[in-house]
Symmetry: none
C-alpha cells in the first residue's frame, strides 16, 4: 500500500510542480528539467508518469482548473438561501468571487489558457466543463429560483448571470493590469458594491 500511496503522491507532486513551473514560465519556456526539480524527482520519472510534455501540461491544467472551479462554485453559497436581504447576499458572493478571481493561481490559470488555447484546442473543454461556463450556469440556476420567487425582474436568468459576472469581473482586467497587480481590500469591496448596485438597478433586485 505504501508503494501505491507513494506513487500517487509522486504523481500529485509532478502535477503540482508542473503547474507551478508552467505558470511561472509559460508552456514553451518551461523545461521538463525544472518541473522535475520542482517536484523533487528525476526527469525520466516525469516521463514514466506522463508520456509527453504536452500531456503533462494538459493534466496539470485540468487539475488546477478543477480546484479553482470548486472554490468558485462554493462562493455562490450565500445565494442558495439569501434571506431577506438579497443585495447583501449578492454583495457577499461578489466579494468572494472577486477575491478568488484575483488569486495568484487563478490568474496563472487564465494566463495559461489564453496563451496556449491555439496550440491545445482541446483545453477549451476545461473552460467549458469546469471553467467560467459552469460558473455562469450555476449562478443562472440560483437566479432562476430567485426570479421565480419574485426577487428579480422577470427575464432570462442566463443573461442575468452573464451580466452579473460581467459587471463584477469585467473591470478586473484593467484594474489588476492583466492580473499582475493585487488590489487593496477596500477597492475590491468597492468594486463588488458597484457591480451589485448596477445589477440591482438593471434587474430590479428587491
Amino acid at each position: 500500500m505504501s508503494t501505491t500511496r507513494g506513487r500517487i503522491d509522486k504523481r500529485q507532486a509532478i502535477l503540482e510542480g508542473a503547474f507551478t513551473v508552467f505558470a511561472r514560465e509559460g508552456y514553451a519556456q518551461a523545461c521538463v528539467q525544472a518541473i522535475a526539480r520542482e517536484a523533487g524527482v528525476a526527469k525520466p520519472t516525469v516521463y514514466n508518469h506522463m508520456t509527453d510534455k504536452a500531456t503533462l501540461f494538459r493534466h496539470s491544467l485540468e487539475a488546477a482548473a478543477r480546484a479553482v472551479l470548486d472554490e468558485r462554485i462554493a462562493a455562490l453559497e450565500p445565494l442558495a438561501d439569501p434571506g431577506d436581504d438579497l443585495r447583501a447576499a449578492l454583495q457577499q458572493a461578489a466579494g468572494r468571487l472577486l477575491r478568488l478571481h484575483t488569486d495568484g493561481r487563478s490568474c496563472a490559470l487564465r494566463r495559461l489558457l489564453y496563451s496556449e488555447v491555439t496550440h491545445f484546442p482541446d483545453i477549451l473543454d476545461i473552460v467549458k466543463d469546469s471553467g467560467p461556463d459552469r460558473l455562469t450556469r450555476a449562478l443562472a440556476d440560483r437566479l432562476a429560483r430567485l426570479t421565480l420567487a419574485g426577487r428579480l425582474r422577470a427575464g432570462d436568468p442566463d443573461l442575468a448571470a452573464e451580466q452579473f459576472l460581467a459587471l463584477l469581473l469585467g473591470p478586473l482586467e484593467a484594474r489588476t493590469q492583466l492580473g499582475t497587480r493585487t488590489l487593496p481590500e477596500a477597492e475590491l469591496d468597492a468594486m463588488a458594491q458597484a457591480a451589485v448596485d448596477a445589477f440591482a438597478r438593471a434587474w430590479d433586485v428587491s
Copy 2:
C-alpha cells in the same frame, strides 16, 4: 528616396510578419527564421532592424496595439453627437466595438498580452497607453458630456464607462471561447442590444 522607402517598407514588413508569427505561435515558440520568412527577408536582416527577438516582440506588439486602438476610439464616434436617440447611438457604438473586439488581430493581441505580461512587464505600458484604459477614458469623456446634458443619471462617468464596456465585452470571453470562435452577426447584435438595455436601465439613459 526609393531607398528610404524600401527600408521603411522592409521594417514594416518585418513588424507585420513578426506579429503574424508571434500571434500564431506565441513568443517562445515563434522562431526568428519563420518571422524572416513571413516578412520575405533573410534572418540577419531582421537583426539589422531589431537588436533582439525581445525587442522585435515589443515593437511588433506596439505597432499592432496602436492600430487596434485607433479603430476602437473611432468606434465611439456615434456618441459625439448622439442626436435624439441616445440608445440608438449607444447601440451603434456597441456593435462596432464588439466587431472590433472579436477581430482576429484584436484577439491575437489580447492573447499575446496575457501570455507574456509576466516575462515582459513593460508591455503593460502598451495596455495603459494605447489599450483598454484609454478606450475607457475616451468613453468616460463622452459620457460625462452626456451626463451634463442630463441624458444619463448623475454619477461617476468613469464608473459608467467601465460598466458599459464590462457589460458589452465581458460576455465575449466565454462566448468566443477565449477568442477562438467567431460569432454570427445576429448574436453580436443581440449582445450589443442586451448590453445597451442593461446599461440604460442601470444609468437611466433617456
Copy 3:
C-alpha cells in the same frame, strides 16, 4: 563500477579531444561540434561534463599542462646525483628538456597559452603553478645544492637556473620557427652542448 569508469573515460576523452582540436584550430576557431566528434561523443554530452566552451578550454589546458610539467621535472633527474662529471649530467638533462620542449603537445600548449592569455587571464595560474616557473624553481633547487657542494661558482641559484634555461631554450623559438618545425637529433644535441658550454663558462662549472 563500470558506469563510473565509463563516465571518467568519457570525461578524459572529452578533455583530450578538446586539447587536440584547440591545439589545431585555436580557441575561437575550434568548434564544439568538432571537439565532440574528436572525443567520439555527441555535442550535448560535452555540455553535460563542462558548462562552457571556455570552461572546457581551461580544463583541457590544465590537464595538458600538468602532463607536460611532470615530464619536464622528471628530465632534471640526472642533476639529483650528478656523480663526477657534472657537465655530462647537465648535458643529459639539457638534451631531455630540449626534446620535451620541441614535442608537439608542448609546442601546442605554448601556442595556446600565448594566444589566449589576454582573453583568459586566469590561465596564467597554469603557467605559474605548473609551467615554466616551477621548472625554474626545481632547477634552482638542484643548482643550489651543487653550489653548496662547490661545483658551481657562488651566486644566486635562481639566476643560474634562469640563465641555464634561457641559454638552452631561447634559441628554440627561432630555430623551430615558432614550434612549427622539428629539428634533427644532431642539431638538438649541438644546441644542448652549446648551452651547457656557455653555462659552464659563465658559472665555473667543474
Copy 4:
C-alpha cells in the same frame, strides 16, 4: 593629389586599425566591422582595399613587424662603435632591446604570430625576413667585427649573438607573464646587467 593622399591615408588607417583590433581580439574573434570602426571607415571600404580578412591580417602583421624590427635594429647602434668600454655598450644595447621587447605592440605581435602561425604558415616569412632572425644576423655582424678586433673570445659570432639574445630575452617570458605584465625600470636594468655579465664571462668580453 589629395585623392591619392586620401587613399593612402585610408589604407594606412585600415592597416593600423586592423592591427589594433587583431592584437586586442585575436584573428578569429576580430570582426571586420570592428576594424572598420577603428579605422573610421565603412565595412565595404575595407574590402575595397583588401580582398580578404586573411589578406588584411597578413598585411597588417607585415606592417607592424617592419616597424618593430626597424626599432630593434636601431637599438644595436651602440655596438657599431663601442669605444673602450664594450660592456657598457652591450649594456646599453641590452637595455634598449629589453624595452622594445616589452613594448605593447611588440608583445601583441609576438602573440599573434604564435597563435596564427599554424593557420597562416606564410607569416613565417615575416619572422625570417623582418623578425628575430634578422636581428640575430645584425647582431652577429657586430660581434664578428668585435671578435676580429679581439674584444671577444674567438668563436662563431652567430652562436654568440644567439646566446646574447637568449640570455637577455629568454627570462622575459616568465617575468612578464607571457607579456601581460610590465616590468619596473629597475628590474629591466638588472636583467640587462645580468645578461651582459653572463655573456661577458662566457665570451671573455674585454
